[in-house]
Every structure is written in structure tokens, then in C-alpha cells.
Amino acid sequence: MTQAQQPAVEMRGVTKFFGAFQALKSIDLTVEQGERIVVCGPSGSGKSTLIRTLNQLEEIQEGKITVDGIELTAGGENVAKVRRDVGMVFQQFNLFPHLTVLQNCTLAPLKTGRADKATAEATARKYLERVKIPEQADKFPAQLSGGQQQRVAIARALCMEPRIMLFDEPTSALDPEMVKEVLDTMIDLAREGMTMLCVTHEMDFARAVADRVIFMEQGAIIEEGPPAEFFGNPKSERLRNFLGQIS
């Protein structure tokens, strides 16, 4: 199939403004199928905005984005198609507090016509098993710890069987002792070959699973490379400074 060869994500000249502030400055980025990308950079560098453009949580003003061969920026039906293909995990979990864990996981598959109730629940239980909390299915999000909630959020996204997963600082809102359980879940996912774009400051995670690390500053990609080179031999002054600050 051609779909295997075409890039998972292709961004060309992507430019985003918030009012007068330019959040993304003509970004070019290609992500291959199965590639694991970590995006890092100081706050306000546009890294979250970058991955949020990939499912059009942020609309862009200029440029072209193609996801799995579907041109997102063409609009219309394509937006919904891309969103079905792209799962997202947020810093604040954003679980639906009025629904149980299981209902959180089955809502989108049911409403988008992906699955009937029995199939959706079976899929949900499968992914809750995968993130190692099958026993919490009937609880409400507020009854779970932060780490458990984030794992539910990952399972919820996986229930749509996405081909690409976006992570927007998934461990930043967690207590330190819960970071590991979420990272372990993400590492498992990476090992299974999921295409992933992760905005994170967890450099150990980047070293362990990333194929490529991207450093952003002021809305532009400053430097990118495989983790060994990225951490071992940073070329730009700004990346050296950044790595000095976070380690």
C-alpha cells in the first residue's frame, strides 16, 4: 500500500499567529511512519502549538499540513478524517469527569460510528488492560490518581485506533512519583511502533525511545537530530544553554 510509504506528517511553511504574536514561523517538518519524535524547548517556544496544529486544535494562517496523505489544511471533511487518525494526550488529562473510565473510552468510538457498544467496550477494556488499569473501568476520573488518570487518557485516545499519537507535556502536571508509570506506558507504546510526537522535558524518555529530538525556540525549529547527537553534540549555542538549564 502507498500509505505505508507516505510520511505520517508533512508540514510545509506552517505559520501561526495569536493576534500579533507569531507562534510558529514557517515550520517545515516531516515525520515518517513509526517515527518517534520528541519536541522540547523553553516555554512559549511554540512546541505545544506545533503539535496542536496537527489535529487542528489550532488553525494555521499559512502553510500546508498533510497527515497520512490527507491534506488537513484543505479543511472540510479532511479535518474529521485526520482527527480520527490522530490521538492526543493533554497535560491536564482532560478526562470527562461526569463519565466513568469505561464511558470515557467508549464515547468517541460510539459517537463517530466506529463501533457498536459491545465492540467499543471490548476495545476499551483491552486498552485499559494495556495501560495496566483494567480494574478501574467503572470508577470516575476523580477517584483515580493523576498517573492513573493520564493512563486512562492514553487508553481513551487509543480506543480510536489512531495511527499517530500526540502527547502535550503528558507528565508535567503529575506528582514526581507518578511520572514513571505514565512514561512506562508511553515507552511500551513506542516499542509497539506507534508514530508519536511528544512535547516533553523528560530527556531520559527522549534518550530511551526517540528517533529524533527537535529543539524549538521562538516559534522556529532551531536544531534536530537523533538523541545521541542531539544531547552529545549540540551544535547551536541556544540548545547548549537549554540543555544546561534542564539537566
Binding site: R83, M88, N94, F96, L107, A153, R156
Partner: protein
């Protein structure tokens, strides 16, 4: 002829309660339907819809309910429709309630964290599904207490329809008073009946508010 205030007068007043309740129910149900549309328009992505609904709210919140009643009442005759106090009152109060409930519910919708909409959007849910299954159920919890509070205002507001000649509780009181000229007793009774209807609702609203606060601190 002035006659003595008697049991038949009490019965007459109590019977008029049903008109107050009917009018309140019509206005509340009509206002709930209208208010939902106003709230959705107010919090929508379309600038035109937001402006129109904001204008609607401003007009109905910025003019006295009594003027609205007059305008709808006399407006019917301008349109060559027969004068019908119940119809005029029902329409005016429905618009009035739509504006207030619309504004209350807009606030409730906006109080639901934006991350909820984002997560639902990222899951590829349509606007309708996002609203129906994610945002509105959460907004409803926030809205219950102020909505019941507004219902109390609305029930008391129906008393103004007595001025356009609709025989609800207050008008019944006026009629009885005109015959018996015992205003303190008559309007004391009328006020007591309003209180009996409204007080439990106020208590209920306060209890819901307490429960909400508990839910938020948990």
C-alpha cells in the same frame, strides 16, 4: 357595595394560583428552549451569532419586564390579532426568560474548562456530540442552582401580568380587594401564597449550591 372578605374570596384567590403556575410553567419551558439556543449562540464560534444573541440579551435585560408585557400586549392589536392577555403574557415572559436563562447558561457553558472541548474535539466528536455528551452535562450541574433561583424570580414576575389584565394570583387579589376593601388581609394572603410557592424553591436552590461547592472542593 362593599362586602365582607369571606371563604369564597379565599377560594377565588387560591384558584387563581393555577394561572400563576401555568404562566410560570409556560414561560419557564419556553424560556428554557429559547435560553438553550441563546446560550449556544452566545458561546458559538460565529461572530454574527454571538452579536445577535448578545443584542437580544441586552434588550430584554435592559428594559423593564412591565414594558415588555405592554409592548407584546399592544403589539398583538397592532398585528390585528385579538387581545389575549394570556398569550401576550406567555410570549413576553418566554422572551424575558430566554434572555436571562441564556445568559445564566452561557456562563455555565463557559465555566466548563476549555480542555474538555479540546479533548472531545481531538477525539473527532462533532459539535453536536461535544455539546450533548461532554459540555452540556457538566454545564448543567453548574447551572442548576442559578436556574432554580431565576425560576423564583420568574414566578414573582408573573404578578406583573395582572396589569395587562391577566387574572392570575395578584389580579385575583385585586379583584377581591376591590369588592371587600380589605387590602391588608387580601394582599397579605396573596403574598403568603407566593411565599409558599417560592420559599421551598429558594431552599432547594441553596441546597444545590452547597452540593456544588462540595463537588468542586472534592
Amino acid at each position: 357595595m362593599i362586602r365582607q372578605f369571606g371563604p369564597s374570596d379565599i377560594l377565588f384567590i387560591i384558584e387563581a394560583v393555577r394561572w400563576t403556575l401555568l404562566l410560570s410553567a409556560i414561560a419557564f419551558i419556553g424560556g428554557a428552549i429559547g435560553g438553550l439556543f441563546v446560550a449556544l449562540a452566545r458561546s458559538s464560534g460565529s461572530k454574527a451569532l454571538r452579536r445577535i444573541s448578545a443584542g437580544f440579551i441586552r434588550i430584554f435585560q435592559g428594559t423593564p419586564l412591565l414594558m415588555q408585557l405592554f409592548l407584546f400586549y399592544f403589539g398583538l392589536t397592532v398585528l390585528n390579532l385579538p387581545i389575549n392577555p394570556l398569550l401576550a403574557a406567555a410570549i413576553a415572559l418566554t422572551f424575558h426568560a430566554s434572555a436571562y436563562l441564556g445568559e445564566i447558561w452561557r456562563g455555565s457553558i463557559e465555566a466548563v474548562p476549555s480542555g474538555q472541548t479540546e479533548a472531545a474535539t481531538a477525539l473527532s466528536l462533532s459539535y453536536r456530540d461535544r455539546m450533548q455528551h461532554v459540555v452540556l452535562p457538566q454545564a448543567a450541574r453548574i447551572a442548576v442552582a442559578p436556574t432554580v433561583g431565576f425560576l423564583v424570580q420568574l414566578i414573582k414576575g408573573t404578578s406583573l401580568t395582572s396589569i395587562i389584565g391577566f387574572t392570575e394570583l395578584t389580579r385575583a387579589g385585586q379583584i377581591v380587594n376591590n369588592a371587600t376593601f380589605d387590602p391588608f388581609v387580601v394582599f397579605g394572603l396573596v403574598a403568603a401564597i407566593y411565599f409558599i410557592i417560592c420559599w421551598p424553591l429558594s431552599l432547594y436552590a441553596r441546597r444545590l449550591e452547597g452540593r456544588m461547592r462540595l463537588a468542586f472542593t472534592r
